[in-house]
């Protein structure tokens, strides 16, 4: 039984710097295992689509333009991604990796979150076909307001 069992901690702390990290001003280095933004390496990809199949957040879409010519577009939704690295382990060719440095991904709009990896021409072809095929976006039906009396 004692009164004030934490007195030593208190006196130690008063003469010490607070442990609070000054985050935006000082950044801690991330460990090498850290799972940041996904990176796709086109060299070995076979377009099997296992990464897309296993993705729990449906953040990946592998678009095969021509399998023989290895024309793939890798569509990655950064804002859907859970950073679980399942795709990295699902890929048998080792095409995918998470970049430990790219982790400050917050933004005010979702515009920058659609990433297309692949050959520049392939991406252009794919995007052009998309805009041609897609009809004008229909606005979602608005919720019917209920009158408050």
């Amino acid at each position: 039984m004692k009164l004030g069992a934490m007195i030593n901690d208190i006196f130690e702390s008063i003469f010490k710097h607070p442990v609070t990290e000054h985050y935006p001003f000082e950044r801690k280095e991330t460990p090498s295992q850290f799972r940041g933004q996904l990176q796709w390496n086109r060299e070995n990809c076979t377009g099997c689509g296992l990464c897309a199949k296993d993705c729990p957040a449906n953040a990946i879409e592998v678009i095969v333009l021509d399998r023989k010519a290895k024309q793939f577009v890798f569509h990655y939704n950064v804002d859907h991604c859970l950073f679980c690295a399942q795709c990295v382990h699902s890929c048998r060719q080792g095409c995918l990796s998470m970049q430990p440095q790219l982790w400050e991904l917050a933004a005010l709009s979702r515009d920058g979150y659609q990433l297309y990896y692949g050959n520049e021409n392939d991406i252009q072809t794919y995007l052009a076909s998309q805009t041609a095929a897609e009809p004008a976006a229909t606005p979602r039906p608005a919720v019917q307001p209920v009158a408050l009396d």
Binding site: L3, G4, M6, I7, I10, S13, I14, P18, V19, T20
Partner: protein, 320 residues
């Protein structure tokens, strides 16, 4: 009015002040409010550092007050609106009036008469009473429980705290604060009446509802206690009142037990030391349940002060 030697020198240097200025700006009114905010900041900052945190920046208490003043004050249904608006004003007015009777910043009190000690102690209780009433005025369940606890706590610490402040009055043979102050400047009563000092200091913590006596506003149980329904100006006034009460209370305890307050430096050093002591006690303690608080005060606080008083009376009888 009798002044201590140091106070006398200080007073010769200060020209006569316009009473209105003295009342509203310095040393009363605005100055006490500022002092209250500054002490609140020291309290919060030191507590944060004791917990290895960074703590607020120096203008945070002021910013809080500004923010609250700018906010809409929501008056809930089914309260007496007059009381709801009036109680915070009465509370702050009580605390500010109490400040006029104590040697704030080492200056002589603005008003002084035989028996002003009693008036001051009651004015200090006015804030707690107003908070209790404010809680009871609303229908909020948390506020009701908080109000009950606030008033229960008031009745528990009030008697020991009063006795602890009366003990120096007995020794000094006067019930006038300035006279006790000048008597204390030659006698360090903390040496002869250590129990009274402890009870007064801890009683002050009970009055200010600081941990471990924060059961009336225990956020994990009853949200904000009696203050739950207050949002804008009312809350700001109550908070300001608390700050003023802290300054007044610290001044009283320092003046009575720590060798009197003879000047500004004296004031800052002594009340500062007491504030640090309060912060350390705050950091070390777990919140007491309300019945533990009551038990502590009546079983230990009141009894110990009475024993000390008895010893003093016996001493007087024997030496006489």
């Amino acid at each position: 009015m009798e002044l201590g030697p140091v106070a006398r020198v200080w007073h010769q240097g200060v020209p006569e002040m316009n009473p209105i200025v003295a009342l509203l700006i310095f040393p009363g009114g605005l100055f006490v409010l500022t002092l209250g905010l500054a002490y609140e900041w020291v309290d919060r900052k030191l507590l944060a550092r004791a917990q290895n945190r960074v703590g607020p920046r120096w203008f945070q208490p002021l910013a809080d007050v500004f923010k609250l003043l700018a906010k809409e004050e929501v008056i809930p249904n089914d309260v007496n609106p007059l009381l709801f608006v009036g109680l915070p004003i009465a509370a702050l007015a009580g605390a500010l009036t109490a400040a006029l009777y104590v040697p704030i910043f080492g200056l002589a009190p603005a008003y002084s008469f035989e028996g002003d000690l009693i008036v001051t102690v009651y004015l200090l209780s006015l804030l707690t009473l107003c908070m209790g009433l404010a809680g009871a005025n609303t229908l909020n369940r948390f506020a009701l429980v908080g109000a009950t606890r606030t008033l229960t706590q008031l009745f528990s610490y009030e008697a020991p705290f009063m006795l602890a402040l009366l003990a120096p009055a007995f020794v000094a043979q006067t019930w006038q604060i300035s006279a006790i102050n000048s008597y204390a400047s030659t006698h360090w009563l903390i040496v002869t009446q250590p129990i009274g000092f402890l009870v007064a200091l801890i009683g002050l913590m009970g009055k200010l509802e600081l941990p471990p006596f924060d059961a009336p506003e225990a956020e994990t149980e009853i949200v904000a206690g009696a203050m739950t329904e207050y949002s804008g100006r009312g809350l700001a006034l109550f908070r300001l009142g608390k700050g003023v009460e802290m300054v007044v209370g610290l001044t009283l305890v320092a003046a009575f037990y720590l060798g009197g307050i003879g000047g500004p430096l004296d004031f800052l050093l002594k009340t500062g030391a007491l504030l640090i002591a309060i912060v350390i006690i705050q950091a070390l303690m777990t919140r007491l349940r309300i019945e533990q608080t009551v038990g502590l005060w009546w079983r230990w606080g009141a009894l110990l002060v009475l024993v000390q008083l008895l010893l003093y009376i016996l001493w007087e009888v024997v030496t006489a």
